[in-house]
């Protein structure tokens, strides 16, 4: 399953807190898609996911908008 989490316009660290909560209720193998226009939020999410050991892919879908996909590989 692919989940989309609405973090549009939210400042740090609310997206990470929301992702932590969302990932808890997701099953292993699911992925979480997030979109943000905050450069720091995109960076913070990448660093956080790497530390937690979740594979994360980052792409710039438009000028100053980042789309992040986190795969839940473990609990």
């Amino acid at each position: 399953m692919e989940y989309y989490l609405d973090i549009w316009g939210e400042m740090c660290p609310i997206p990470i807190i929301k992702s932590q909560r969302k990932l808890k209720v997701m099953a292993i193998g699911d992925s979480l898609v997030l979109e943000t226009e905050h450069s720091c939020t995109a960076r913070g999410l990448v660093v956080w996911a790497q530390k937690e050991g979740y594979p994360i892919s980052e792409s710039e879908v438009a000028a100053g908008i980042w789309r992040l996909t986190i795969a839940k590989t473990h609990d």
């Binding site: 316009g9 939210e10 929301k18 226009e37 905050h38 100053g64």
Partner: protein, 162 residues
């Protein structure tokens, strides 16, 4: 080499690279200015000037003095430098306020931040970073107080903004 250049222009830099560059520039500011980098003391002069314009303060700071103040150009430079950094990576956009609650939190937060910075003689840059860098005990005490304040702020954020 090409990859390094691409990361330098496009970013993001690793945090430790940012820390080293900022540290080097911070020392250069001290060398040029003969006093450390600070943000809010210049903002204070502009605030008093603005207040006089609105008839709220009796003392007058001439605008020519503000336009010849080094702090004005440091602050303006930070804004322009960030704008340039975003443009260079094609990441600039106007980011409007998406939810009203963040408008309130920005106004109230700014008010607290400005008041606190001025009664404690400095913000994160002038009071904390350069207070500590100047080996002043005040800088360390301020850092501890800021940490406790952040903890209270985090509780407020969890309650009202998440």
């Amino acid at each position: 080499m090409k990859k390094i250049w691409r990361t330098a222009v496009h970013g993001p830099w690793p945090y430790w690279v940012g820390a080293m560059v900022l540290g080097g520039l911070n020392i250069l500011v001290l060398l040029v200015r003969k006093r450390p980098w600070g943000v809010t003391s210049n903002l204070q002069d502009w605030a008093v000037w603005l207040a006089h314009l609105l008839g709220l303060a009796s003392e007058r700071i001439p605008v020519s003095q503000l336009l010849l103040a080094e702090g004005t150009y440091l602050n303006l430079g930070v804004v322009l430098g960030a704008l340039w950094a975003a443009l260079a990576a094609s990441q600039w956009r106007f980011r409007p306020l998406r939810q009203r609650k963040f408008g309130f939190s920005a106004l109230i937060g700014g008010l607290f931040l400005g008041y606190g910075a001025r009664i404690a003689y400095g913000c994160n840059v002038g009071g904390l970073l350069n207070g500590i860098a100047s080996s002043s005990l005040t800088g360390w005490v301020f850092a501890l107080a800021v940490f406790l304040g952040t903890w209270i702020g985090a509780k407020i954020l969890l309650k009202f903004l998440v």
